[in-house]
C-alpha cells in the first residue's frame, strides 16, 4: 500500500502520547483502591479528584458535577434513564430527536415499555432540531428532553443554546449527548445552558472505556449501577483509575489546544468536502455544510453501496465508515439519513470520514486521488449507474 490513512476518528482514536504516559504508573505503581483509608488509597483518591477537576474545567463545570462512566454510551444511559426514574412523580413523557445515538434512542425506547411516552422529534434536511417545535411538544408530564450536540453520522451541530432556553423556561431537564463535540470543539456547559451532558474519552484521545456525565448541581438522578458509594453514590464499582487518569490528562490537553486544532482541521475537512464534490459527480454532502463538526465530512455517492465502498477503500489503505444498511448488520437504512430525507437507495451510498490529529493535507489529497477511482470501479459494476446514465 502506498499510504495508510485512518479516517474513522469518531469510532476510535489513538491514545495521545502524554495521556498514555500519564496512565502507566496507575496500572502497577499506584494501584490502591481509592475507597480505602490507608496512605496509598488516599493518594489515589486525591489523584481521582484532580482528574475530576480537569474534566470539569474543560467544560466549565464544577468537579462535583462530574460522574465518571465506562463510556459515552453509559453516560447517555445514566442521563436518559436516571432522570425519568428519579422524577417519575413529575411525569412520564420524554422528548428525543429522531437522530439520536442508539444509546439515547434505545434508552428512550426502553421507557416505552415501562408505560412512558416518547416523542421522537423530527429534524430538517440538515438534521437541525427546531427549538420552537421542542417548545410546542413540552407538556406538563415531560421529564426530559435529550438532543445531541452534534450528530456522529452527518456532523450537524444543533442550536443547543436555544433548545436549552426553551427547556429552562418550561422547567424540564435538558440533556445533550456531546460525545461528538467535546474534544472536537470548545464546549461550555454554562454557555450551552444544559442540565446534563455526556462525554466520551474517544474524541479526546483518551482510551476506550472512558467517559463522563456532567449533571448540574442539585439534579437528582437515579444510579444505574447499584453497590458501593463510589462517584458519590451515582455509580458503584471500583473506579477505572488508569482510564480516569487518561481522561483527565486528555481533558487537560484539550483545554489547551482544542480551539487551535478545531480551526486547523477545518481546512482539511473543507478540502476533503469540496474536493470530493468536485471530483465525483452525483454525490451529495450529508448534514449542514458549515454548521458541522470541524473534522467531519460525510457524503452519499449515488449508484453504489457503502459497505462495498468501505472494503474497496480499505484495500487502498483508506479507513472510513458508512451508514449503509448492508454494513450495519441490522440491514436497515440509517435512521439518521432517513430522518434528513435522503431517499433509501441513495442512503446506501453513505460514506463518513472523520479526521484526527494524525491526519495531514497529504492524507486528504491521497483520498481525493483514490476515491474517484474506487467509485468509478463500483459504478462500472452497478446496474443503477448504467440505467440512470442512459
Amino acid at each position: 500500500m502506498e499510504r495508510e490513512v485512518y479516517l474513522d476518528n469518531a469510532a476510535a482514536t489513538p491514545v495521545r502520547k502524554e495521556v498514555l504516559e500519564a496512565m502507566l504508573p496507575y496500572f502497577d505503581k499506584y494501584y490502591a483502591n481509592p475507597s480505602t483509608m490507608y496512605k496509598p488509597g488516599l493518594e489515589v483518591k486525591k489523584v481521582l479528584d484532580e482528574q475530576r477537576a480537569k474534566v470539569a474545567d474543560l467544560i466549565g463545570a464544577s468537579p462535583e458535577e462530574i460522574v465518571f462512566t465506562s463510556s459515552g454510551a453509559e453516560a447517555n444511559n445514566l442521563a436518559v434513564k436516571g432522570i425519568p426514574f428519579a422524577h417519575r412523580k413529575k411525569g412520564n413523557h420524554i422528548i428525543i430527536s429522531a437522530i439520536e445515538h442508539h444509546s439515547v434512542l434505545n434508552s428512550a425506547r426502553f421507557f416505552e415499555r415501562l408505560d412512558y411516552e416518547v416523542t421522537f422529534l423530527q429534524v430538517d434536511e440538515f438534521g437541525f432540531v427546531n427549538p420552537r417545535r421542542v417548545e410546542e411538544l413540552i407538556r406538563q408530564e415531560t421529564v426530559l428532553v435529550s438532543i445531541m450536540h452534534a450528530n456522529n453520522e452527518i456532523g450537524t451541530i444543533q442550536p443547543i443554546q436555544e433548545i436549552a432556553e426553551v427547556c429552562k423556561s418550561k422547567g424540564v431537564f435538558f440533556h445533550t449527548d456531546a460525545v461528538a463535540t467535546v474534544g472536537n470543539i470548545p464546549v461550555d456547559v454554562n454557555e450551552l445552558g444544559v442540565d446534563l451532558l455526556s462525554i466520551s474519552g474517544i474524541p479526546l484521545g483518551a482510551p476506550k472505556g472512558t467517559g463522563a456525565l456532567y449533571f448540574r448541581k442539585g439534579t437528582r438522578i437515579m444510579p444505574l449501577i447499584h453497590g458501593g458509594i463510589q462517584e458519590s453514590g451515582r455509580r458503584a464499582g471500583t473506579e477505572n483509575v488508569p482510564g480516569i487518569v487518561g481522561l483527565g490528562k486528555a481533558a487537560e490537553l484539550a483545554k489547551q489546544d482544542v480551539e487551535e486544532w478545531s480551526n486547523k482541521v477545518k481546512a482539511l475537512r473543507d478540502r476533503l468536502i469540496y474536493g470530493v464534490l468536485e471530483r465525483i459527480e452525483r454525490t451529495r454532502i450529508t448534514g449542514h455544510p458549515e454548521k458541522r463538526l470541524p473534522a467531519h465530512a460525510s457524503f452519499c455517492v449515488e449508484a453504489i453501496e457503502g459497505e462495498a465502498l468501505i472494503y474497496m477503500l480499505s484495500s487502498q489503505g483508506i479507513y472510513a465508515n458508512t451508514g449503509s444498511a448492508c454494513a450495519s448488520k441490522a440491514l436497515k437504512t440509517s435512521p439518521v439519513l432517513v430522518a434528513i430525507g435522503v431517499p433509501p437507495d441513495i442512503a446506501q451510498g453513505s460514506v463518513v470520514f472523520t479526521l484526527g490529529r494524525s491526519n495531514s493535507m497529504e492524507d486528504v489529497d491521497y483520498v481525493l486521488e483514490k476515491l474517484p477511482h474506487v467509485v468509478e470501479r463500483l459504478r462500472a459494476m452497478s446496474p443503477l449507474w448504467k440505467q440512470e446514465a442512459a
Binding site: H102, N106, R109, F110, R113, A303, I304, E305, E307, A308, Y311, S315, S324, A325, C326, A327, K329, A330, L331, K332, T333, P344, D345, Q348, A380, M381, S382, P383, L384, W385, K386
Partner: protein, 162 residues
C-alpha cells in the same frame, strides 16, 4: 467477517458486464434494500455459453454474483436452474448469517434469466408468479438477534419488530 474466497471475488470479480444480445435477462432485488443484480446469459445447445452481470450491493452481493457466473458458465440449463443459494455460499467458504438471505441473490437472478430465455426463445408460457415466502422478522433488523415469533420488541436492543 468475510471469508478469503469472498474477498477474492469481491476484489477481482469475474465476468462483470452486459451481453448486448443476451438470450435471457434476469433482474432481482432493488436498490432500496441495498442489493440489486441483473444477469445476462447466452445459451447454445442447451448450455450456458456466456454469462455476465451488473451488481449494485455490498461485498457479499458482488462476490455472490461473481461466483454464480463462474459456476454457471458451461452448465446445462437444468443444472443451472438447480443451483442453490446454499451451494453458492458453500463455494464461497460461507457467508455471514445476516447476508444469507438478502445478498445471496445470484442463483435467483440466474434462474430468472433462464426463465426469460425459455419464455422468449422457446415460447414457454410464463411460470406462475411464485408466492413470495414472507418470513416472520424474528431476526431483529437493528441488531440481528433472533427473537421469539411473538416478540413485539427485540430482546437485545429494544427495537420494534414489525
Amino acid at each position: 467477517m468475510y471469508s478469503d474466497k469472498v474477498m477474492e471475488h469481491f476484489s477481482s470479480p469475474k465476468n462483470v458486464g452486459v451481453i448486448e444480445d443476451a438470450d435471457g435477462i434476469g433482474e432481482v432485488g432493488n436498490p432500496v434494500c441495498g442489493d440489486m443484480m441483473t444477469f445476462y446469459i447466452k445459451v447454445k445447445d442447451g448450455k450456458i455459453e456466456d454469462i455476465k452481470y451488473k451488481t449494485f450491493g455490498c461485498v457479499a452481493a458482488i462476490a455472490v454474483s461473481s461466483k454464480v457466473s463462474e459456476m454457471a458458465k458451461g452448465m446445462t440449463l437444468e443444472e443451472a436452474k438447480s443451483l442453490s443459494k446454499k451451494a453458492v455460499a458453500e463455494e464461497l467458504g460461507g457467508l455471514p448469517k445476516e447476508k444469507m438471505h438478502c445478498s445471496n441473490l445470484g442463483a435467483e437472478a440466474l434462474a430468472k434469466a433462464i426463465q426469460d430465455y425459455e419464455e422468449k426463445k422457446l415460447g414457454k408460457p410464463p411460470a406462475p408468479e411464485k408466492e413470495e415466502l414472507h418470513e416472520h422478522p424474528c431476526c431483529c433488523t437493528h441488531c440481528g438477534v433472533e427473537n421469539p415469533e411473538t416478540a413485539k420488541f427485540c430482546m437485545e436492543c429494544g427495537e420494534r419488530l414489525d
